[in-house]
């Protein structure tokens, strides 16, 4: 049972505090790999995106991809972090079938990016700062398939050598929600920057979650690392399970062993990784094939100039410029595509109304159709136009919903739809009046009943709308009915 106020977990011996640190591995968006010219595209036929360098053949040498360096700097800037103009690549030595060189080229003591900080947004509207320890560049490993053969694993090196940014957080998170919010925020920032596509299902973003528990005020407990969690949902589940496992262990008088664990989504449990049980001595040393990576302040400044507006800044602007609520702004900026769509739609239209339509109708419909904004049939500009038509009373709110449906189906613009289908709001006073008169005339019983139940006026409104196919200006209808039936106004 989690105490929402201060994130403490109630155990049998008292309250426990959860301490979480996260290492994210993010594949860099680039055409070719970090140290070789092979393609990085996802889903290709196995071992076709492998060069002699990637395969660790004798005599092969690494050459760094300049774009990967820029992407790392960009990301560091997005994390409000210190960019290190001097950094070194080290070899991390160990044996594994998906590691062709017998070492991974990574960065150990002198990474390209140092301390930083991001603000995460929690469901209850609060925000919290999470520190970034560092970001460094390293090679991704290949993949092994274990289900192709009873006694062999099949190794595919397509992914071997793809550029990764490893982003290490400070152990600042205290709940599964905070952990999820952190990863979501990181992902969003990188998507805004276009340095990583954040696609967890395809493996372009993986998280290693470090979990430990302690009694509030105590020293840090022994942590366990849950490796390669590849969905936000699983991050939450894994932490919940692991926290409980550790608390149970300690409360029964046992010690938590430092372990590397895996999360099994089917069982909802973490288990120890057999192959990583022996502790590794990676014997890091500077890669003699690579000189130190150096660049100037000017170089970093040039990159800074190219940065797009980041989510936090954009959200503030939405609140100030468009007068949106923090809650709504938050939703809009949580995905760059959504914020872009909104601004396009609100260019010449009432932003609050546009916001409501995007967050309300549009999201709900896209959800049902299982579509994203990218394949939305309604152009942003057209949605803005629809809002204008409501705003200037060309159509009623009710009719707007119908127009919206037709826009979804046909992709046509709202003005055309309204004209073609004769959906314009009826504003003509005399026309409405005559319709109302007819209804009053034809329904004397209802008129009489009105005396007892004034709310029955709703029925007259309904009838009027029915007669006008929903096009009558609702305000006008109400006014006229009130005057005629209730002697008001």
């Amino acid at each position: 049972m989690v105490d929402q106020m201060n994130n403490l977990i109630k155990g049998s011996t008292g309250d426990w505090e959860l301490v979480i640190g996260i290492e994210v591995h993010a594949q860099i968006i680039s055409n070719s790999k970090l140290f070789s010219g092979s393609s990085t595209s996802f889903g290709s036929d196995h071992n076709t995106q492998v060069s002699f360098v990637d395969a660790g053949m004798p005599g092969m040498l690494p050459v760094i991809n300049s774009v990967c360096v820029e992407q790392a700097i960009k990301t560091g800037l997005g994390l409000n972090a210190k960019i290190n103009n001097f950094s070194i690549f080290d070899r991390k030595n160990y044996f594994y079938p998906d590691l062709p060189q017998g070492y991974q080229i990574s960065q150990f003591e002198q990474p390209i990016v140092g301390n930083g900080m991001i603000t995460i947004d929690l469901d209850n509207g609060d925000s919290k700062n999470v520190g970034i320890e560092r970001l460094h560049l390293e090679q991704d490993a290949g993949k092994s398939l274990h289900d192709q053969h009873p006694s062999y694993s099949f190794v595919d090196l397509n992914r071997s050598g793809v550029a990764l940014m490893e982003i290490v957080s400070m152990p600042d998170m205290r709940s599964p929600e905070e952990a999820q919010a952190y990863v979501k925020k990181l992902r969003n920032i990188m998507k805004y920057l276009q340095t990583c596509d954040g696609n967890m299902e395809e493996g372009s973003l993986r998280a290693d979650i470090n979990v430990s528990v302690r009694k509030p005020g105590d020293e840090l407990g022994t942590r366990c690392e849950i490796k390669n969690v590849n969905s936000i949902k699983f991050i939450g589940q894994a932490i919940v399970y692991e926290a409980k496992r550790q608390i149970d262990l300690i409360e029964k008088g046992n010690l938590v062993e430092q372990q590397t664990r895996l999360f099994d989504p089917k069982k909802g449990q973490t288990r120890s990784m057999r192959s990583k049980e022996e502790s590794h001595d990676y014997r890091y040393f500077p890669d003699p094939d690579l000189l130190p990576l150096t660049f100037t302040d000017e170089f970093v400044d040039e990159i800074k100039k190219t940065l797009p507006e980041l989510p936090d800044i954009r959200r503030k602007r939405f609140i100030n410029e468009y007068g949106l609520s923090p809650y709504d702004s938050n939703i809009l900026v949580s995905e760059k595509e959504t914020a872009d769509y909104f601004e396009e739609a609100a260019k010449n239209s009432n932003p609050k109304l546009v916001c409501n339509w995007v967050i309300g109708e549009l999201f709900s419909v896209l959800n049902k159709m299982n579509k994203t904004l990218e394949d939305c049939p309604i152009r942003a500009g057209d949605l803005g136009e629809l809002v204008n038509l409501i705003d200037d009373e060309t159509i009623t709110g009710r009719i707007a919903k119908d127009v919206f449906e037709i826009m979804l189906e046909t992709g046509n613009n709202p003005k055309t739809i309204v004209d073609e289908n004769n959906m314009k709001q009826v504003n003509d006073l005399s026309e409405i009046e005559s319709i109302i008169d007819k209804i009053i005339e034809n329904n004397p019983d209802q008129v009489e009943a009105l005396a007892e139940k004034p709310n029955l006026i709703g029925w007259f409104v309904g009838q009027t709308m029915k007669e006008t196919q929903g096009k009558a200006n609702p305000k006008t209808v109400n006014e006229i009915l009130s005057k005629k039936l209730l002697n008001k106004g």
């Binding site: 680039s30 055409n31 995106q49 991809n65």
Partner: protein, 97 residues
């Protein structure tokens, strides 16, 4: 500093080399002789000295390459020398995580 047997076994494990029992004695002896000999470096005062990791003289920093795809896509050559391959994959004894 002298190297002990436990150390040798640990190092052999890290290097993925196995020594038969009689070989361990010889390698232990060799390692000790060499390590004792290289220990003379402790005589050198290196207090304010920075290490040299490469003797390559380049004042322009690390050379980079453009982000273009100009390599790979020759699976046959990649697997040409493989001791155990099937359908373009490298085969290894199953590794269970």
């Amino acid at each position: 500093m002298s190297v002990d047997k436990e150390n040798v076994i640990k190092i052999a494990n890290l290097s993925k080399i196995s020594f038969k029992d009689h070989e361990i004695e010889k390698i232990l002896e060799d390692l000790n002789q060499i390590i004792d000999w290289v220990d003379q470096l402790t005589e050198v005062n290196t207090d304010k000295v920075s290490p040299t990791f490469s003797s390559f003289d380049n004042d322009k920093g690390m050379k980079k390459r453009e982000d273009i795809i100009n390599d790979g896509d020759y699976r046959e050559d990649i697997t040409l020398n493989a001791p155990n391959s099937e359908e373009g994959f490298f085969l290894v004894p199953k590794v269970i995580d």
